[in-house]
């Protein structure tokens, strides 16, 4: 009988997808805050007329930020207090990541893995850093629009630039994240578990042997 192993709790699934969906909206409206959509005819696509109005685009950006900011803050505090640190990088992850990535293309043998892949742990910290930077600079933008804080002109410029540049980096990491999941078949069981919360026991045994052993010993 094939058994399934729980990989993600419902809370984690909700966190992931609320960050993902609001993140995509933020990304699209964030790009729309740059004066590009009109030039590139996006505003003329059926259903995208609203992107021509910067005020509408920014309003939607703000609304999506409610979900995004809440989910990220929840994630940090919930898992921080519970000490769920399996996604934080460990010593030697950099070298191991290279092996795992090579293995994804059939160029090397995959080392035994924990619950998360070493390159997932590194990516987590990288994306996490960008997200924190985006949220921090975004909140400063909200506060200065509210005039609850008055920034010096230079500080306002720098904050805006950091938000815009980090936004571009976020687009890049988002594309890599999605591509690695979609185009590399060995990662498909992980995609499935992001919807169901479970992976097959066989998969866990085979790929995440260190994690599997740990669960079995518990």
């Amino acid at each position: 009988m094939s058994r399934k192993i729980k990989r993600h709790t419902l809370v984690e699934l909700i966190e992931h997808w609320s960050i993902a969906i609001s993140g995509i909206v933020l990304l699209f409206t964030g790009l729309g805050c740059l004066p590009l959509y009109k030039r590139y005819y996006i505003t003329e696509l059926p259903g995208f007329g609203w992107t021509a109005d910067f005020y509408t685009v920014t309003t939607i950006h703000y609304i999506a930020a409610i979900v995004f900011v809440s989910a990220v803050i929840f994630h940090i505090f919930y898992h921080g207090i519970r000490k769920d640190f399996a996604l934080l990088p460990k010593k030697g992850d950099l070298l191991k990541s290279i092996k795992v990535i090579l293995a994804m293309f059939g160029l090397a043998k995959e080392p035994p893995l924990e619950k998360y892949l070493p390159e997932q742990r590194i990516a987590y910290v990288g994306i996490g850093f960008l997200i924190i930077l985006l949220i921090a600079t975004g909140i400063i933008k909200v506060l200065k629009n509210l005039e609850w804080i008055i920034l010096s002109p230079t500080a306002e410029s720098i904050n805006t630039l950091i938000h815009t540049i980090t936004g571009f980096l976020f687009v890049l990491t988002f594309i890599v994240h999605v591509a690695v999941v979609l185009f590399i078949p060995s990662n498909w069981p992980l995609l499935k578990s992001m919807f169901t919360g479970y992976v097959d026991e066989e998969y866990a045994k085979h790929r995440h042997s260190l994690w599997y052993e740990k669960i079995r010993n518990n």
Binding site: I63, I66, S70, F74, S152, E156
Partner: protein, 323 residues
């Protein structure tokens, strides 16, 4: 050293304070304002060019754009905005003309309206420039940094008066992706930023007074004083424009005719620049209420996370039978 919660809070508040205050920080409302009394403006009758316009062009000419030709169109579009062959235009706003006098005839009365940037209290151009190229200075003026401006013209789109003007073929975008992103540099009045920084008056104000003396159209001064001048004028039956529009600005117009008539006339004549009466500051009316929700939900979520984490018991057995 361990980062305790107390240390973290101390550190972050110190960081925030230094970011917030800087040494240029001032209150949201600027130090200065301008009164433009339309009852006194005759558009410099008899002069080849209105004094304010001439003074502005003279004072700022060293900052006018000198585009590299040929100018590339804004791919994939075939157009680009180039005013460099129309440098002599004085009856509209261009990258080479940051103030002009709008003439309009209302029921036989000729009205002359000097038009330039209003310098809003909460300027949409500054707040929404994605490159931080626009800043609001402590003096109250909004300033475009021509070194940082990409020429996307978003500032013009979000400005209720469409004031900033674009010149292609100059600026930062030429060094990055000239074909695909950016469109030049935006230009507009910045109240002669270097002059007012050292306590002098903008060039237009000085030039007007040289011609009209006591009866000058422009009065530049401390914001409080300008606002109270406008208030007094209102009590005497004049109409005021600019105090309420877009949540308040530092440019107040006085007129003996209601601004409804001026708005209507400019609309009817399809003039390029208009004076809409009902201008809401959407940063304040739309963004800010949602902004408060973002902040509040952040705190709520933090509280929820703390309670949830403490209440949750980590399940040790995470295996279940497949049905």
């Amino acid at each position: 050293m361990q980062l305790t919660r107390r240390k973290f809070l101390l550190l972050s508040s110190a960081l925030c304070t230094s970011l917030i205050l800087g040494n240029e920080a001032e209150a949201a409302e600027g130090k200065y304002a301008t009164l433009i009394d339309l009852t006194k403006c005759d558009g410099c009758k008899g002069e080849s060019i209105p004094k304010c316009v001439h003074a502005c062009r003279e004072y700022n000419k060293s900052r006018f754009p000198e585009p590299k030709k040929p100018i590339q169109p804004y791919w994939p579009r075939k157009t680009y905005e180039d005013w460099s062959d129309k440098k002599d235009l004085i009856d509209t706003l261009t990258p080479y003309n940051w103030i002009f006098v709008q003439k309009i005839n209302i029921n036989g009365t000729e009205i002359n309206i000097p038009i330039r940037c209003m310098h809003c209290d909460n300027p949409p151009c500054v707040r929404q420039c994605p490159f931080g190229a626009l800043t609001k200075q402590p003096e109250g003026n909004s300033v475009i940094n021509d070194k940082l401006c990409f020429g996307g013209a978003k500032c013009r789109d979000v400005c209720p008066w469409q004031i900033p003007q674009r010149q292609a073929g100059v600026g930062l975008y030429l060094d990055l992706l000239p074909k695909y992103a950016g469109g030049g540099v935006m230009y507009k009045c910045d109240l002669c930023k270097d002059k007012i920084k050292v306590g002098e008056e903008p060039a237009c104000v000085v030039a007007c007074r040289e011609r009209l003396g006591e009866k000058a159209v422009f009065t530049f001064g401390k914001r409080m004083e300008i606002y109270s001048l406008a208030k007094n004028a209102k009590e005497k039956g004049l109409y005021v424009y600019g105090d309420k529009q877009n949540g308040g600005t530092s440019t107040l117009y006085l007129s003996s005719l209601p601004f409804e008539l001026i708005e209507k006339a400019l609309l009817e004549k399809k003039e390029r620049f208009k004076m809409p009466l009902n201008v809401k500051n959407k940063i304040e009316t739309t963004f800010n209420p949602i902004g408060k929700v973002i902040l509040a939900s952040g705190f709520l979520s933090m509280t929820g996370a703390i309670i949830g984490a403490l209440a949750s018991k980590r399940s040790s057995k995470e295996v279940k039978e497949d049905e």
